[in-house]
């Protein structure tokens, strides 16, 4: 029982840390844009990178994408992203 509660605390901590990190990244991106501290092209790359980290956190920490059949789950996501990316690229190139 004691081990269980210790385990629980650890889990909650993990979730909370992920959440904190996400809020932090969002706030950072927000302030960077608000005060325009960096030159635009680099800024866009940076905040896109922040967004990617957040997505990975959500998928990994909250959505258990790696659990057991992670293979199929990831495949489904990659397939969708591949088609979505093609669509985005060629719609931008329009």
């Amino acid at each position: 029982m004691k081990r269980l509660s210790k385990h629980t605390n650890k889990e909650i901590h993990k979730l909370f840390l992920s959440f904190l990190l996400m809020i932090l990244l969002t706030a950072l991106a927000f302030f960077l844009v608000l005060y325009q501290l960096i030159s635009p092209p680099f800024l866009i790359v940076l905040i896109t990178f922040f967004a990617l980290i957040q997505i990975v956190i959500q998928l990994d920490r909250f959505m258990d994408i790696r659990e057991k059949e992670g293979g199929y789950r990831l495949t489904s996501l990659i397939g969708g992203s591949f088609v979505a990316l093609l669509a985005i690229v060629f719609l931008i190139l329009l």
Partner: protein, 650 residues
Amino acid sequence: MMNVILDYLLSLPSDIIFADISFTIMLIATVYFLTKYAKWKWLWSWITSTDHKKIGIMYLFVSFLFFIRAGIEALLIRMQLAFPNNEFWVFQGERFNQLTSTHGTVMIFLVATPLLIGLMNVIVPLQIGARDVAFPFMNSLSLWLFISGGILINASFVAGGSPNAGWTTYAPLASKEFTPGPGNSYYPIGLQVAGLGTIMGGINFIVTIIKMRAPGMRFMRMPLSTWSMFITSILIVYAFSALAVALLLLTFERLFGTVILSASEGNPLIWQHLFWIFGHPEVYIIALPAFGIFSDVISVFSKRKLFGYPSMVFAIILIGFLGFMVWVHHMFTVGLNTNITIFFALTTMLIAVPTGIKIFNWLFTMRGGRIRFDTPMLYALGFIFTFVIGGVTGVMLGTVPADYQYHDSYFVVAHLHYVIIGATIFGVFSGVYYWWPKMFGKKLNETLGKWNFWTFGIGFHITFFPMHVMGLMGMPRRVFTYPEGDGLGFLNFISTCGAFMMGIGVLFFMINIYITTRYTKKRVLNDPWFSRGRTLEWTIPSPPPAYNFARLPEVKSREPLWDAYERGNKNINFIGEYEDIHLPNSTSLPFFMGIGFLIASFGFVFEIWPVALSGMLIVFLMMSIRSFQQKNGIHLPKEKVRVQDMRGED
């Protein structure tokens, strides 16, 4: 009141009056016969069924009805085009545009796709040794969404006018500015409903194949039909989502006044991109299952193991993957960047490689085999011949400079009919003849089958081969007539004759079904194809019991049944013990959800918001009921299963 209605009816054009009258007669006849033979209960049992075999048969039946309708449209198109400067009935100008648009839309979305989904429903669980699909309820829902979307598009003809901007419905022609009236609203809304059902079906089959294979049925032991249907399901999930967005965009454009697709303020090319991001994979969605069916049929009727199984699987996967990267070849003439165009021309030609692999594998399978020329095999052979022609013209169209010549001419019409009829329709005929005994326990009449094949096949080539030449002579597609001096009259007349021959071919098929159902007494055993069956569906009775497999089969090779025959056994070993079998409940919720979507869609098309809202409320209510339902299902005790199974074996 009566006067108003009568005046309205008399003001209608003659073709709509004709359609109304024939529809009313059919409706009355249906009701009369259902009542006379007391079949209402029987009908309801089908409507509410969650048995994958029954759902598959309903898919096949309904899409066959749509096939007849769109086929009649094709005949009307050919009648109008039979002679130069022809004026057949009312089908000129606007009316002709409606004909070609609905012919294309119905044939692609409501015939080719659902026919194959119907076969998928019947076959996939049987071939992988499963008792059902993963989600029987969702399966039934897919069916009813397809039917209500189909009804919507078919009803457009008599209620407000059909879509008339071509089956591709390019913007800005399809926007309200150029085509006011409800006609072109039917297209995005009707297809949205049907497409939703198709996505659900795709997900259902992906999960079924991943999770419900019999013990020992590894991925690399699955029959080719199942493999191709698996890849098709994946394509469906991704491609139809892109279509959903395109349709949503068009709906907003027409109903809520966005200007994204407008030529002056937005960019109409967005529609073309999104449509073809869906549209090209769609070609493979309807071609791959046919490839799978032919692989099974050719191997069985040649009495040979399929040549190069791994390369066949690899080719299917590669075609599916490349299929997403070729769509711009439909848009070469819009003048995109040269590098983009070259990239897409190359990927297009690359697809010819895996397709070539498949053709050669089929030929090598037949080599040295003891071939029987039954109807399914005839269709398979006809397919190889036809599809090679379609493939070659495909590569020709993929050549960018030449495409500027072929674009929007009858050459394209010829090409697309060669691949779609050559693969999909031949494939479905082949599959239906091949699996008919499994579905209904009787074999279709072989003589009539041969008549069906030869009239349909020869008629097909007479219809569409001249179109290549017409295209090269400069006849554009989607025109309702042509001047006498162009020298197109003779070719067009031949083409029209061929179209009627195809019609006769379909008539033979219908007669065949009628005669077989009515007069054939002989019931077939498990494997009606002269003990040449190779895969699991031929190890169980025809038609199979609701639970398919009384005991689960054990799969040790790619062709379990054939290996059992080779060892001198009459059937494979079923290793599983008899057990209590759980079957899903019948349910009427999907049917009512379909009705809800139908009501809502009419509301959206005519922009009557209370109707739309009440339709959506019905859908939502049904979903809530479903959410709260206890899903008990029916439990079949193992004793009963055992007794039934023993009786079947006598």
